[in-house]
């Protein structure tokens, strides 16, 4: 039972929990104790160190900004204004707080605010739904569009939108890159004739892709009134991130073990059987390596693209907070930064687990 648990946590990349489980069962206390020290206590210490450095840094920046404000008041308006400014800053009044790198506790506070905000908005949404349920039913019967909630999205809603967009983009990347990669991987001629295109478009920045997609989608959706920002951002994400999969798929397909190809020839397999029974399975590990890179690139460019395209999601959350300039905006941006990082990490773990699952040599670490 517990061994199954250990297998599972190892498989999903949480192997560092293993010694805790083992120790809790009283297995080899000395060895597992040292292991815990090494792979849990030491990283925890580094987290504390990180927070310490951050705290010190933000305090220093705070003091610098505060001194600057006091001196500016002294220079512009005299001693009295300077004293008032000092008092005001010390009192913690929002109106005169220095606007700089927030401290860990401020960020933590903002995190809680955002969660509270999310709860409030969720309740609001629920009430709205209950209120409009009957009306929407009636509208539905009359063939009219239902009334939808148009209030401000919460932070959690933004996260959900971003995840939805990244997976839509990722799916698009798979649908484009895998088939094309297989086709050009099968033919030397096609590979060399399309190589220039791949080499030129691969390094193009996400911003340019966004503009390109914008040009096309804007024209295509001229006559419909649907919101095109979601379409624009997921297509841009797909186009930016698909290259790693395309290149890896083509490489995987073109470098299938010669022995396998000979077996296929000797057994006289038809072209379809050859592709589906031999070539694709043997290039799966490389394809998934490509997909893993694609997903992490997709997540990275998504934030930038949402920010630029003003489509809802974490990117525009960051941008709006930056524009907003409220006193807790900076700490909300840092919260978003951690959320982006953690989700990126989890997505990578997910792909790693799938990658391990499809590679035929299960013991091979990546």
């Amino acid at each position: 039972m517990s061994d199954k648990l250990i297998k599972i946590i190892r498989f999903i990349g949480l192997g560092f929990l293993e010694p805790i489980i083992r120790l809790s069962r009283g297995e080899e206390p000395r060895k597992n104790g040292i292991l815990i020290l090494k792979i849990i206590i030491a990283p925890l210490a580094s987290v504390l160190l990180f927070i310490g450095v951050w705290q010190t840094g933000s305090t220093a920046l705070f003091n610098k900004e505060a001194n600057y404000r006091i001196e500016k008041a002294l220079k512009d308006q005299g001693q009295k204004a300077a004293d008032e400014m000092k008092l005001c800053i010390d009192s913690g009044d929002i109106s005169c707080q220095p606007n700089t790198l927030p401290s860990p506790s401020q960020v933590n506070a903002s995190f809680k605010t955002l969660l509270k905000d999310h709860k409030a908005i969720s309740i609001d949404k629920k009430n709205f739904k209950e209120k409009t349920a009957a009306l929407n039913k009636q509208r539905n019967a009359e063939g009219k569009d239902p009334i939808v909630y148009t209030g401000r999205p919460s932070f959690v809603d933004q996260i959900k939108t971003s995840i939805k967009t990244v997976f839509a983009g990722f799916l698009l990347a798979i649908l484009i890159a895998v088939p094309i990669g297989v086709i050009i991987g099968l033919s030397d001629t096609l590979r060399s004739s399309f190589n220039w295109l791949i080499q030129i478009f691969k390094p193009v920045s996400p911003v340019v892709w966004l503009l390109l997609v914008f040009m096309i989608v804007k024209t295509l959706t001229k006559d419909s009134d649907t919101d095109s920002s979601f379409i624009i951002s997921f297509i841009s994400v797909g186009l930016c991130s698909m290259w790693a999969t395309l290149v890896n798929t083509a490489m995987g397909v073109s470098t299938v073990d010669k022995d396998f190809i000979n077996v296929a020839k000797v057994l006289k397999l038809g072209p379809l059987q050859k592709v589906f029974k031999v070539i694709l399975p043997s290039s799966l590990p490389l394809i998934f390596t490509g997909l893993r890179i694609t997903l992490s690139v997709a997540w990275m460019v998504l934030i930038a693209i949402e920010l630029l395209a003003q489509s809802p999601g974490l990117g525009s959350f960051v941008w709006e907070e930056f524009q907003n300039g409220a006193n807790d905006s900076n700490s909300k941006i840092i919260v978003a930064m951690f959320v982006i990082g953690i989700i990126g990490f989890l997505l990578d773990r997910l792909m790693l687990a799938i990658q391990k699952f499809v590679s035929f040599n299960k013991n091979e670490g990546i």
Binding site: N262, K265, V266, L267, K277, S282
Partner: protein
């Protein structure tokens, strides 16, 4: 004392007896330093239901010759025919067992054998095809491992599957390129027995490259000796007249065994 009877390479068989015919075969590899002639004026006939082994120095062109027979390597000049018909590319009339088992590691043993059977018996029902595969897997001693992934099998087991896969497509000629070269001697002995038993039952022609003189003698009706390259050809042919079925013990105990062995080693060392 020479062995009692040695067929020289010039010997011709009656056309009706011949399964495989290599005629004035030539192979040229283009290299940066100009063409490299591996094989030239190579003539060889193999009779129906005959087992021949091929020995020769490493790099003389044995694999080249075998892959040409398999249809995996283009012929530069001359011709290869099976039952009087020139070969065109690979075909199910010629089965191949490679040096490395070359199983698809993501498939089970059974699926690997099925891979070729589907193509060769298109009209058989699913059950019939499966029975054919299982029959051969049983023959090679893998009755308990049908559904094991190929990657989970040992080298020796994998090569057993390779043998089953080759026989299951019912070839007329079986081509083997040092199939047991990577195995330890115990496993090699076991697989030789498995191979010779199925071959005996199926009555097909077998051409096997080996670098092991004892293996060459134990398995063969004739041992074909190739000269060293470039422009390698058949240097000499030794007929092994032991009765079949043979046991390893009887072969090693036979008076002629050491004569045969000495003859082959002399050829290789000269």
């Amino acid at each position: 004392m020479m062995p009692t009877k040695i067929f020289k390479k010039q010997e011709k068989f009656a056309p009706a007896e011949v399964m495989l015919d290599l005629h004035d075969l030539k192979k040229v590899y283009p290299t940066p330093k100009g063409d490299y002639v591996v094989l030239e004026h190579l003539d060889l006939q193999v009779k129906k239901e005959e087992f021949v082994t091929i020995i020769g120095h490493s790099g003389c062109g044995k694999t080249t010759m075998l892959s040409m027979i398999a249809g995996l390597n283009p012929i530069s000049d001359g011709g290869i025919s099976v039952l009087g018909t020139s070969i065109k590319g690979p075909g199910p009339d010629r089965g191949v067992i490679f040096q490395s088992p070359s199983l698809m590691p993501w498939m089970t043993a059974l699926e690997n054998v099925k891979l070729g059977v589907r193509k060769v018996f298109p009209h058989a029902t699913k059950k019939q095809k499966e029975d054919i595969c299982k029959y051969y897997l049983n023959k090679v001693g893998l009755d308990g491992s049908f559904n094991k992934k190929a990657s989970e099998l040992s080298q020796g087991m994998q090569q057993r599957v390779g043998i089953a896969r080759a026989f299951a497509i019912k070839p007329k000629v079986l081509l083997l390129d040092e199939p047991f070269g990577m195995l330890d001697s115990l496993t090699r002995g076991e697989l030789q027995d498995v191979l010779i038993e199925i071959w005996n039952k199926e009555k097909i022609t077998a051409v096997m490259i080996t670098h092991d003189v004892d293996e060459a003698i134990f398995l063969a009706d004739r041992v074909i000796m190739m000269t060293s390259g470039p422009s390698a050809k058949i240097g000499d042919i030794l007929s092994i007249d032991f009765e079949r079925p043979r046991t390893r013990k009887a072969v090693i105990g036979h008076d002629d065994y050491y004569k045969y062995r000495k003859y082959l080693i002399d050829f290789l060392e000269h």
